[in-house]
């Protein structure tokens, strides 16, 4: 069994989201404790991306509550949530294609003002992603998919987030690059960052995470410790091809 931290960083209660006339999220409850790496897995169209976008403030929920750091996020706009430390690495990476790698990373620090700290963080990012250091002045749009994923992650980290949300970081990447990206995710988690990881690649996500939620057509069908989910028959059958 896993421990429930009494004061979660993020707590979602009975969240319902609809758009385009379809109810994409049909009453979801989840929570993330400080420093926890939580995986949200599920097949295509289960509503995982909608969930993340709603948490980031890009979709408005029809009902339900999102509490972050003890505050209700109901009337908090997307850009304010970013300033509060919620960072989203969007699906498909969303790098600023016609800006250089450095410019991309600097945009990540848009809400921050201390120039010395930003410069120090930039140097730290290039340590974390040496590959990007070699490509500093290159336009982000000309990088490979894996490098773009690194840019998107580094850019999100530049905001000094307290909650990092990753949407399908493995999507469209070569297997070797996927390994690399997940190593980095583990490293970041080991430094105490709270992470919500959305993935179709259930095995990888559950291997990295402490806890997991399984989502199916807009609802959570299973949840528990990551290793228990990995071993459970239902997950094995549905997502791991066992």
């Amino acid at each position: 069994m896993y421990k429930i931290n009494p004061t979660p960083l993020l707590e979602v209660r009975d969240l319902k989201v609809s758009y385009g006339g379809i109810q994409a999220i049909k009453g979801i409850a989840l929570h993330i404790a400080p420093g926890e790496l939580v995986a949200l897995i599920g097949s295509n169209g289960a509503g995982k991306t909608t969930m993340l976008k709603t948490l980031a403030g890009l979709h408005h929920p029809a009902s339900g509550q999102i509490h972050y750091d003890g505050k209700n996020l109901k009337d908090v706009a997307a850009h304010q949530r970013a300033a509060m430390g919620i960072a989203l690495v969007p699906e498909g990476r969303g790098v600023f294609a016609r800006m250089t790698v450095t410019e991309n990373l600097q945009m990540g620090a848009y809400s921050r003002s201390n120039k010395n700290e930003i410069a120090a963080d930039l140097a730290r990012m290039y340590e974390l992603f040496p590959r990007l250091a070699e490509r500093k002045g290159q336009l982000a749009g000309t990088l490979s998919g894996g490098e773009q994923q690194m840019v998107a992650m580094a850019r999100a980290l530049m905001s000094r987030p307290r909650l990092l949300m990753l949407d399908e970081p493995s999507m469209g990447l070569a297997p070797l690059m996927v390994q690399k990206i997940f190593e980095t995710i583990r490293d970041i988690a080991a430094q105490g960052m709270s992470i919500l990881l959305v993935e179709q690649n259930a095995r990888l996500a559950l291997q990295a995470a402490q806890r997991g939620y399984v989502m199916e057509s807009g609802a959570i069908t299973l949840s528990g410790a990551a290793n228990e989910l990995l071993g459970s028959d239902a997950v094995q059958r549905a997502y791991l091809g066992g």
């Binding site: 976008k53 980031a56 403030g57 890009l58 706009a77 997307a78 850009h79 304010q80 970013a82 300033a83 960072a87 989203l88 969007p90 969303g94 790098v95 600023f96 294609a97 016609r98 800006m99 410019e103 600097q106 945009m107 990540g108 848009y110 809400s111 290159q138 336009l139 749009g141 000309t142 990088l143 490979s144 998919g145 894996g146 998107a152 850019r155 999100a156 905001s159 990447l173 070569a174 070797l176 690059m177």
Partner: protein, 366 residues
Amino acid sequence: MKLNSKSKSLLVALAIGLLLIPFVTDTLLGRGWVRIVDFAMLYIMLALGLNIVVGFAGLLDLGYIAFFGVGAYCYALAGSPHLALAFPMIFPNGVHLSFWVILPLAALLAGGFGVLLGAPTLRLRGDYLAIVTLGFGEIIRIFLNNLNAPVNLTNGPQGISRIDPVSLADVRLSVTQEIFGISLPSVHLYFYLFLAFTVLVIFASQRLEKSRIGRAWMAIREDEVAASAMGINTRNLKLLAFAMGAMFGGASGALFAGFQGFVSPESFSLMESIMVLCMVVLGGMGNIAGVILGGVLLAVLPEVLRHSVVPLQQALFGKMIVDPESLRMLLFGGALIVMMLYRPAGLLPSRVRRRELDTDEVVETV
């Protein structure tokens, strides 16, 4: 900014060159051409204003000329006897405000219209945004065309005439002035006024581009979702882009009205919006030098054509076969197609676009 002696002397040479333009043009080509150069300056200002909306923030605006119109009519109403017709009790002589009052007024009014256009289109992008802005431009023009009843505000299709010329500290730009023994005709005076404003607009554009606001606009242009996830208030910044672009448009509209002495709705047709957009695209979207080049080319070339086509055809065939106006559109369309095929990023592509095209061939490695 520190300049070394070489770039300093270049700058001085450039300044002298610019100041000599009206005299050189006058001597070589005649006074009519100085007027054309004056118009080219107005177009450069317009194109730089549109470049903020389209080039920096990536919001395609096909109704930009409406803001030019708003500025021009603002000047026309606040600097002519016209309002005496509509409100003879309040303004028996019309309204004759000072240039320095009207100019910011026109810019602010146009900026307000910019927000008015921006607010309902915040959720739209690309084609949809283009269609709504196109509609907006036409609405403004049709209003100008029809607001002569029930109260005669715009004088309808006849337009407003007898507009006060620009006068700066009692120096009227509409008559020849003697300065240090040099006689400066009206078109020369207006050239210097427009030059000063163009330099101001270029300076403002450059500062904006490098500012925090400019970088946020570029992020919105590249990926709006990611931009708002970075903490950028996309709504306010998009409205700001519309407002800033519109203010530049409105200010140049006011200058236009003062220079021309007459405004009518037909100066603000869809074709004009498209021309200004073409200046931005042809020169190099997002690149200030490119936009200036585009403005000069598209303002001056049609005039060259107008002055050369008729005599050329007369000499060759003894009569006029194609009128310059339709030939202009034909050449213009052809030039655009050639541009899109061979120089898709414009004549002077922006730093970023150039690099992007250069690195196209780089093989992606994972």
